[in-house]
């Protein structure tokens, strides 16, 4: 393998590590559910990649970045901007939706961060919102996109709080509202909260990354809420780790 740098993104839900070559392309990747013992997990994942890479610079980002033995640490905001820019080659707006936070990053020329907004204090604006309620509805992830598309209309979910929304959904089901409509409403609800953070909506559309970007229903709902196209970056969960690796490369 021709690895030249390693980047690690110690997120609160998943821990991601990538190795990149000198041109900045991903040559190896790892994703695991986050362990509370961040330092051990990070060290192990880095070591695995280093075994193949042979001792290259490491940079860490994410929630647990300070617990990682790395040459450099950077916030996930800078890393996501850098990673997204490397994948698209153009400035733009990136919406990163993870399990426990949502970031909106305005990326400028050369991948610099122009502005950013975060929702990391309230679960209702993050992937956790969907996880909790879809779990309660017993809707498997594989069916979500199809259900949303099927719905005649979105059943309005007014609660801003995940806990309240959960009980609201139970009541709606009891009142006979269709699951498809509720699924659509849930996505619309989350999308509107995210859109409220998103100041700039370029005509060309926005980018999306993070675990939630794998949910096609969410991508569609976000496009509706923003009124512009939403393009999911390739390997959306790895953007942060990629950005970190690119920083280590520099």
């Amino acid at each position: 393998m021709s690895a030249a740098a390693i980047g690690l993104d110690a997120g609160s839900t998943t821990c991601k590590a990538v190795a990149v070559d000198a041109a900045g392309r991903i040559v190896a990747r790892r994703i695991e559910a986050s362990s509370p013992r961040v330092d051990e997990q990070a060290a192990r994942m880095i070591a695995e990649l280093q075994r193949e890479a042979g001792g290259v610079p490491v940079a860490a980002t994410g929630y647990g970045r300070k617990r990682v033995a790395a040459g450099r640490t950077l916030t996930e905001i800078s890393c996501h901007a850098r990673g997204a820019f490397a994948l698209t080659g153009a400035p733009g707006v990136l919406i990163d939706m993870g399990g426990q936070d949502t970031k909106i990053i305005e990326i400028g020329e050369r991948g610099a961060v122009v502005d950013f907004a975060m929702n990391d204090k309230c679960a209702a604006g993050t992937g956790r919102f969907l996880e909790v309620i879809l779990g309660r509805l017993e809707v498997p992830f594989a069916q979500v996109a199809q259900l949303r598309a099927q719905a005649q209309r979105a059943v309005s979910i007014s609660s801003t709080c995940t806990v309240f929304a959960e009980s609201e959904v139970i009541s709606l089901l009891a009142a006979g509202e269709p699951v498809a409509g509720i699924v659509r409403g849930l996505h619309a609800s989350l999308a509107s909260r995210v859109a409220a953070l998103c100041r700039r909506r370029p005509a060309g559309g926005v980018l999306m990354s993070g675990g939630v970007a794998l949910n096609a229903a969410m991508v569609a709902a976000l496009a509706d809420a923003l009124g512009c196209a939403v393009r999911v970056v390739p390997e959306p969960q790895l953007v942060g780790a990629l950005g970190a690796a690119l920083s280590a490369l520099a």
């Binding site: 996930e76 800078s78 610099a112 961060v113 122009v114 502005d115």
Partner: protein, 360 residues
Amino acid sequence: MRLVHIQQQRQLHGRRALAVLPVHYPKELLTAFNVLAVEMWGPPGPPRGEDAGRLQPYVCAVARNALAFLASGGADAVDGVLFPHTCDSLQGLATLVPDFGGWTRAAFVFQHARDAGRPSARAFALAELRSLARGLEAWTGRTLTDERLLWALRLHEEIDACRAALLDGRKNSSLGDRELYRLLRRGEWLWPEAHLAELRAARAAMAAEPVQRGLPVLVTGYVPEPPALLDALERAGLTIAADDYAAIGRRVVRWRGAGDPWPWLAQRMLSHPPCPTQSADQGARMRWLQELAQRSGARGVIVHVQKFCEPELFDVPAIRRALPLPSLVLEGELEAELPAQAVTRIEAFAEMLRAGARAA
């Protein structure tokens, strides 16, 4: 430390202590009456005790923490409380506590003259000061003479001059942000003459040459709490170059008076930098911030508001529009510890500024 000082002031100098809620109040008047002002900008941390639940969670932490503190006996070292009529939350606190329980000792209210440019406001400022003075006379048993008031005015003008010098000339100060703020915030409870002595010493220690610091930022907001915030800024490579905190820079009066002490005192009350709690002219505040940013060479602005604080929050969009700089909005709840989310935001902001600086 604060407690010891309050007790010493009483024992050695017969000075009573008055706890004062934020933001603006006639400290000069209290000094003239030989009363020690002990400002209550917290305490930080979640409100504790039975009375913590008497204010709903959507009332700001300033009011909630103050209520819990007063009602639990935390302020029993002081002899009375002064509530400036700053905003809706403090307006409510000032009736809740004396009327429905939580404080049985003396309680004073001071009402501000808003939209100070008007003749009615200036006349009211003077009248309200005289009214408070009468209340303090009755409470302390002292008569206030013009000479005494003049003395207090001059003392506080000196203090403001030193504070202004330290804030404006911070590039030349060997004190880091944390030390500087610690020094300035001691003024919230020290007897003014003691505070002036400390300020003079710090001023004398200022270097002739600028000291190398991090990237300069302008900070506007309520209060620099928790102190760990200042450490986070330093570690992220940022330095506060201009201060518009309600607790600090926004109360530094740079205007000098003379003559009749009462109009002088009233004018001082109306001469601090524009504050949303009192001014009807948002444009004036924005121009002040623009000037501050320019003078200080700030590369970014941090808006550090407290959750639910209307006067600060209503100005946030205007601040972002008015200043041609990257901005970061940090929202706190008077936490005792700085949350990790805030640290990440600060670091991301610093990374953003540095990348911008390199590109420039």
